[in-house]
């Protein structure tokens, strides 16, 4: 097990260096001069341009710039935003809880609905329910979520007025962030109605972000269940007269969960991609929106830093999934 872990970590470190080179060189290739952008429609004199480029270190050889950057990253310095002049890492940590909260809600939504739906479809295989569930899942899987979000806003918020349109909580509530998770903070604050408000703000983004993972998990659960149900030990258990609930709930489900856990882990990348669109649509102050804004503002430092942090996060999650997989399924451990 230890060798397995060290091996994985070594590969990860190598990948991380690769990621940093890619992130760094991409950003240098971006067209449009970030220094010139500082002055907007107004024009900057060449002297000032040179001075600012120098101050930002853009005039040094590219390799030096890279090594300098990498050295900074190793010390936890991911650079300073050109636009806001704040450290990238600070901004990331300020915004990340919002994305994390939304993602966790979405994945919970997907798991809580997706697994039962998949199990049910597998048990009732070929029935009307199976077809309906799988049909719906395929629609969810094919969903352009940016449109789905617009549609929900149009229907649920604008027409029915059931949910607020955007943001994380009503502005009537103001309390200092403790955990950064609005659901928890609103409870801690003890202000009446704050929690309810936070929940109502979360509903639509959760549904939108959770749709594709929900579909994937439902489909995955169904096929994993089908596979397990057809295996000998389940058949034996059934023939021995164990209650179907026990057979499915205990024996089949546990084994079927192995591929499902992997799938859930793989959804992290999907979630972050989805967050880019979901947060843009719902004005959700998180990482996704920050990235889109930074790309359009040509904020070199932010895109570069954020790419790195996100890649590192995904790699860590993948590692965790691998390890978890190893725990659930002893067969691959050696």
């Amino acid at each position: 097990m230890l060798r397995f872990i060290t091996g994985r970590v070594a590969v990860m470190a190598l990948t991380f260096v690769g990621v940093s080179i890619i992130a760094f060189s991409f950003i240098r290739m971006l067209p449009g001069d970030p220094v010139a952008l500082l002055s907007g429609e107004r024009v900057m004199s060449p002297e000032r341009h040179a001075a600012i480029s120098h101050a930002l270190g853009f005039d040094r050889p590219i390799v030096i710039q890279y090594l300098d950057y990498l050295w900074g990253v190793l010390r936890g310095d991911f650079g300073t935003s050109i636009v806001t002049k704040q450290p990238v890492l600070d901004q990331f940590f300020q915004l990340f809880p919002a994305t994390l909260e939304l993602s966790l809600c979405a994945i919970t939504f997907a798991v809580l609905l997706g697994i039962p739906a998949g199990v049910f479809a597998a048990i009732k295989r070929g029935s009307f329910f199976d077809q309906a569930i799988m049909g719906t899942a395929l629609i969810g899987f094919s969903m352009p979520i940016f449109w789905w979000g617009l549609l929900l806003i149009m229907l649920v918020s604008n027409t029915l007025h059931w949910t607020p349109v955007s943001g994380r909580i009503s502005l009537l509530f103001f309390f200092p962030p403790v955990t950064g998770f609005m659901l928890i903070d609103s409870l801690i604050s003890g202000q009446a109605g704050a929690f309810k408000s936070a929940v109502s703000h979360l509903v639509l983004p959760t549904i939108v972000l959770g749709t594709i993972p929900l579909a994937v998990i439902a489909r995955q659960t169904r096929s994993a269940m089908l596979e397990v149900l057809s295996e000998d030990y389940v058949r034996t258990a059934r023939s021995k007269g164990l209650s179907p609930f026990r057979v499915i709930g205990v024996h089949a489900l546990r084994n079927a969960m192995i591929p499902v856990v992997t799938t859930i882990g793989l959804q992290v990348g999907v979630m972050l991609a989805g967050a880019i669109l979901t947060e843009t649509i719902f004005s959700w102050p998180g990482i996704g929106k920050w990235l889109v804004d930074s790309v359009s503002r040509r904020d070199y430092a932010v895109i570069q830093g954020a790419l790195l942090i996100i890649a590192a996060t995904i790699m860590l999650v993948n590692l965790a999934v691998d390890l978890l997989y190893g725990l659930i399924n002893p067969r691959i451990r050696h």
Partner: protein, 535 residues
């Protein structure tokens, strides 16, 4: 299911009853749905209007302030001022008894004095000032953009309450310039404290000023909170709390306004305005914006070096269609390079008539056949042009009618600004300008002067006659004289047609019915000094 509304109602009720019990002193919270996050809270560092709204107009004051709703400077932190006869020396007498805000992180021990003023200018001006580069990549863009470093000779503290500015040359718009948000007055005492604590960065995150509102907290990309400054020299505000709810999507801002989640919003979608006006709970303030959008031909590249060709194209463009299609009618077609609200606007100038047939003939007479050209469309929405691509599409189909093939090109914004400056640019570029200080010089010389070729002069147009008129006007202090010169310059402009002037947008500010005391700024600022809610 309507829990949210109920919640709002319940809270409102609670606030109301609580307020009644406390003798009518309910906390009044004013919510502004702003359109973008501020870049920071030190106005000197940035050029974005939303940053000025969030920092300069709330937390800070300037020596002079624009009279609400106008571009006319009036007394601010300076109570009075005198100008020397040669027009080179400006002496400002400071207002006594102005207190800086008391916050959780700073308690001032003294009132505003000349040191604060000198500091506020010198940190942007003098490269050896420790605050000149206190954050990475500091560039004092606006200060440089307005030409201050070349203009200022010296700034002296005459006594505790008097500051004297000496200029290198005469500058007619100087008083308006010191009323601009980038030159807000900071507290030297606070700066010294931050410097001593090694936390200079916080100047940009925890601002302290003399303004009507005290900064409370900023939650990135979400909410900025302020409370009324109890010690404000011009009296405490009628509202108790001010909240900026950052909402980037115009349609979302509208929804929030409708739901009563905010009281006022900037930049509505033109397509929503009709519904806003019909809504009994809302009202919409409107004003012609101090801006212009144009299509700049490259006058250095044939066949656009020919006046007839430019004129012909101008006649082929249906401005009315742009105003309708892009602004849903909420703009006025432009004929001059400066907006009608600006002094010296020459209304006698006659616009090129929309006449495709005549345009076609004119083009043929000029010997131009099978012309194909590029139209550059900006990738972003600006107040003067909310959807350049749509405008380009409209022009494209207009030009097709006179047999000109137009291809629409676009680049990312920074690249667009940069590439469009090139003297050998292929194609005509859509761009525009919003006035900084209400002076015609800020349009005519900045955008069309010979010095600006290869820069802001996107038409690359250098016309001797025009340039002489504009330069002369800049050095004249007499307004009547200047007006005459600028009027002439506009005639020359129209005759030469370096641009197709497209539109002046109307700026609209939708708000709840109960909002009172808001002044729409011609400069596009959103300042909430003096605002009240009576709902």
């Amino acid at each position: 299911m309507n829990t949210y509304k109920k919640l709002l109602a319940a809270t409102a009720l609670a606030m109301l009853t609580g307020g009644l019990m406390a003798g009518g002193a309910a906390a009044k919270t004013f919510v502004y749905c702003s359109e973008a996050s501020p870049e920071g809270f030190d106005p000197g560092l940035y050029t974005g209007g939303n940053t000025f709204d969030a920092a300069a107009h709330t937390v800070y004051n300037r020596l002079l302030e624009f009279k609400p709703g106008t571009t006319e400077p009036e007394a601010g932190l300076a109570e009075s001022w005198t100008i020397s006869d040669d027009g080179l020396q400006y002496t400002f007498k400071l207002r006594p008894g102005v207190k800086f805000q008391t916050t959780e992180w700073f308690t001032p021990t003294r009132e505003l004095n000349a040191d604060d003023v000198v500091f506020s200018f010198e940190r942007q001006w003098k490269t050896d000032n420790p605050w000149h580069s206190y954050v990475t990549g500091t560039s004092w863009e606006y200060f440089a953009g307005m030409g201050f470093p070349e203009l200022l000779q010296s700034i002296e503290k005459v006594d505790d309450m008097t500051v004297k500015f000496t200029l290198k040359r005469k500058e007619a718009p100087f008083l308006a310039n010191v009323a601009m948000p980038f030159i807000s007055i900071l507290s030297k005492e606070y700066a010294d404290k931050l410097q001593a604590d090694g936390k200079m960065n916080e100047m940009n995150q925890k601002p302290v000023g003399t303004g009507p509102f005290t900064f409370v907290a900023y939650q990135q990309d979400a909410v900025i909170r302020y409370k009324a400054n109890p010690d404000y020299w011009n009296g405490k505000q009628k509202i108790d709390d001010l909240v900026f709810a950052i909402t980037t999507e115009a349609s979302v801002r509208y929804q929030k306004l409708k739901a009563g989640e905010c009281h006022l919003m900037p930049y509505p979608n033109p397509s929503d305005v009709a519904a806003m006006k019909a809504d009994p709970e809302l009202k919409v303030m409107e004003q012609e914006g101090l801006n212009v959008a144009y299509l700049a031909y490259n006058t250095l590249v044939p066949p656009f070096d020919k006046v007839e060709v430019r004129k012909a194209l101008n006649m082929a463009i249906n401005k009315k269609a742009i105003v309708d299609g892009v602004f849903q009618g909420l703009a006025t077609p432009a004929k001059n390079p400066i907006p009608p609200t600006m002094w010296s606007y020459n209304d006698a100038v006659e616009d090129d008539k929309y006449d495709p047939d005549a345009a076609k003939k004119m083009l043929e007479d000029a010997g131009v056949k099978d012309l194909s050209m590029k139209i550059w469309a900006m990738p972003v929405a600006r107040p003067y042009m909310v959807n350049a691509r749509r405008a380009a599409e409209l022009m494209q189909s207009d030009l097709a009618k006179i047999g000109v093939k137009a291809e629409i090109v676009s680049y990312e914004w920074a690249e667009y600004l940069d590439k469009s400056k090139a003297k050998d640019r292929d194609g005509a570029a859509i761009l525009g300008w919003t006035g900084d200080n209400g002076d015609p010089d800020n349009f005519l010389d900045t955008l069309l002067g010979c010095d600006a070729v290869g820069g802001n002069n996107r038409a690359q147009w250098c016309n001797k006659e025009f340039d002489e008129l504009v330069t002369k006007a800049k050095e004249t202090t007499d307004i009547a004289e200047r007006t005459k010169l600028y009027e002439q310059a506009q005639v020359v402009f129209k005759k030469e047609a370096p641009w197709a002037t497209l539109d002046h947008s109307i700026s609209l500010v939708p708000m709840r019915k109960g909002v009172e005391g808001f002044h729409q700024s011609p400069l596009g600022d959103f300042a909430f000094d003096g605002v009240d809610i009576t709902e």
